[in-house]
């Protein structure tokens, strides 16, 4: 990235309209890191203090709304943090219920993500190998992305039932696009001199894909996987929210607690769901750092 194009971190993220641009914003995020040689406590402070201050302010606002804005009779709309934590995480039966939901959601989201990765990467490879297919298919993939998935969800229920499979389908529909778009972008992002280098040695298409294109695409692919990881959790929860056959997942629990106006449990479920999203995102960031970090320029 040249200096001219360099945007500030929030600007780079906020102005990223496509998944590609989001991936391009990654160096800006890395630039947030402190220069090497900074003492550990300053690094720690740099990483922790900012978010902590924001957390304290947010919790403060939360308390303010619960105890000042809301009338005691309406306090169930926004139960205080300690009520949420006590009810959701320190009552044995409730905790078990949530953890079971978390397990179901994790399994379904990971299954969906795995399918998205396999499908998205395969389609991207096929499109990059056959330009005709890319030109034919890509507009429809963009269309798929613009259809509000929520509108499709009830239809999916009609077509394939309301069980585990339907949740996976929603999950894949939501998470597959960034994988496909980023992989395709990655497979095409190397200079044409490499094509000459490989043609000089009469390297076949398949070998070139394995030895050149896929490794070159790896950084963009991982950026796609990370975005998709968060989306797969959202997809699973949306699916579970609508399709309540089978084991209760976090989505089904959200629906149930909403119906019962159980504020503390509702908040607890939301916290767990976002924690899962963050964990999967972190997992893929870690894998990416190991696989790509040591060589990426």
């Amino acid at each position: 990235m040249t200096d001219k194009n360099r945007k500030s971190v929030p600007e780079a993220i906020l102005t990223a309209e496509t998944q590609d641009e989001m991936a391009m914003a990654a160096p800006a995020i890395r630039a947030m890191a402190l220069p090497p040689g900074t003492p550990w406590w300053r690094k720690f402070a740099g990483v922790v203090v900012g978010p902590m201050v924001v957390l304290v302010i947010l919790v403060g606002i939360w308390y303010f709304i619960t105890y000042v804005v809301l009338d005691p009779t309406r306090r169930f709309l926004m139960p205080a943090p300690q009520t949420v934590i006590n009810t959701a995480f320190f009552q044995h039966a409730d905790l078990i219920l949530l953890l079971k939901g978390l397990l179901v959601t994790t399994q379904a989201a990971m299954t969906g993500l795995a399918i998205s990765i396999a499908f998205g990467v395969s389609v991207a490879i096929i499109m990059s190998e056959a330009k005709v297919l890319e030109r034919g298919l890509f507009p429809y993939l963009v269309v798929l992305q613009t259809i509000p998935i929520l509108a499709l969800v009830p239809l999916i229920g009609f077509w394939i039932g309301y069980g585990f499979t339907a949740r996976i389908v929603v999950c894949v529909l939501i998470s597959v696009f960034p994988i496909m778009a980023n992989t395709l972008f990655g497979l095409q992002s190397y200079s044409s001199t490499y094509d000459e280098l490989f043609s000089l040695h009469q390297v076949g298409r398949w070998k070139k894909l394995i030895k050149l294109k896929l490794p070159m695409a790896a950084p963009a692919m991982f950026a796609g996987f990370r975005i998709a990881a968060g989306l797969s959790v959202i997809g699973e929860i949306v699916g579970g929210f609508f399709f309540q056959r089978g084991q209760l997942d976090l989505g089904a629990l959200l629906d149930e607690f909403t119906a019962r106006l159980n504020g503390p449990m509702l908040f607890g479920t939301v916290i767990l769901a976002s924690a899962l999203g963050v964990a999967i995102f972190g997992l893929f960031s870690g894998i990416s750092a190991v696989v790509v970090g040591r060589w990426k320029e």
């Binding site: 200079s191 000459e196 000089l200 060589w295 990426k296």
Partner: protein, 265 residues
């Protein structure tokens, strides 16, 4: 191993006369080339590179010097005329190092041996040997992103050396590095050439570099390029930097410059 012949479709009916003999590595016979967009880059080029000969090709930028190398290597087919070249033993060095960023220096050096299907132990030996010759021992586990421009170019040279090419095609390989590194890389190339005596076609736009490195400098005109003239540089290898200050050498340099100015550059 027969030589690969590339000719235009209209030339295909003619018998391939004057194909490569034992002492010739590259032969251009009346070669013209026009790009698909209609730009005529080369017109009636006749050029021969002998075994063990170092030929530098110099000309105004954008005149089609690189096209010459792409024709010799078979990456392009000429629009008319014939190009004869032994394609098996070519080492091609591009203007950019074109290293694979996800492979270590050693992994990059092994690449062509891998393409050739050599066994792991053998290609490791060949790669280490090539890295030693370009002075990159100790850097074999580094990734390209940690190397300087000059070291990347050395790694790129090592990669091409691994298969012991009998013909080296270098496309302005030192254009992107600073002057000091450029001279040092030039001396390294002379060292490699003096030892292995591979036939060499070296594209450059620097008169000093062309004269210092080559036995023979070929001067090309601006586009559509034809050969304006040739200057012999009968100085023995290995050459030392002092050569640059000898009157005989400066005389030849002046001649190349004079020819080049005829090109309208």
């Amino acid at each position: 191993m027969g030589d690969a012949v590339s000719k235009s479709s209209e030339a295909q009916t003619k018998p391939a006369v004057g194909a490569l003999d034992d002492s010739t590595r590259v032969l251009f016979k009346d070669v013209s080339h026009t790009f698909p967009d209609g730009t005529e880059v080369l017109r009636n080029v006749d050029l021969k590179v002998e075994k063990g000969e170092f030929v530098a090709v110099i000309g105004p930028s954008g005149c089609g010097k690189s096209t010459l190398l792409r024709l010799a290597s078979g990456l392009l087919q000429p629009s008319s005329g014939e190009v004869h070249c032994e394609r098996k033993g070519i080492g091609f060095v591009f203007q950019e190092p074109t290293l694979l960023p996800f492979r270590s220096v050693l992994g990059n050096a092994e690449l062509f041996a891998e393409f050739a299907g050599l066994a792991k132990a053998e290609r490791r030996n060949l790669a280490m040997d090539a890295l030693e010759r370009v002075g990159l021992i100790g850097f074999e586990d580094k990734y390209p992103k940690t190397l300087s421009g000059g070291m990347k170019m050395r790694a790129s040279l090592a990669r091409s050396l691994v298969l012991r090419p009998s013909l080296f095609l270098l496309d302005e390989p030192f254009a992107a590095v600073d002057e000091i590194t450029r001279q040092r890389l030039g001396d390294d190339l002379i060292g490699l050439f003096s030892r292995d005596r591979f036939a060499t076609m070296f594209i450059t736009h620097s008169v000093a570099e062309a004269c210092y490195l080559a036995d023979r400098v070929v001067v090309m005109s601006k586009r559509p390029a034809c050969i304006l003239g040739e200057v012999e540089l009968p100085f023995p290898y290995p050459r030392s930097p002092e050569l640059r200050f000898e009157s005989e050498f400066t005389e030849r340099t002046r001649e190349v410059s004079a020819r080049l100015s005829e090109s309208g550059a």
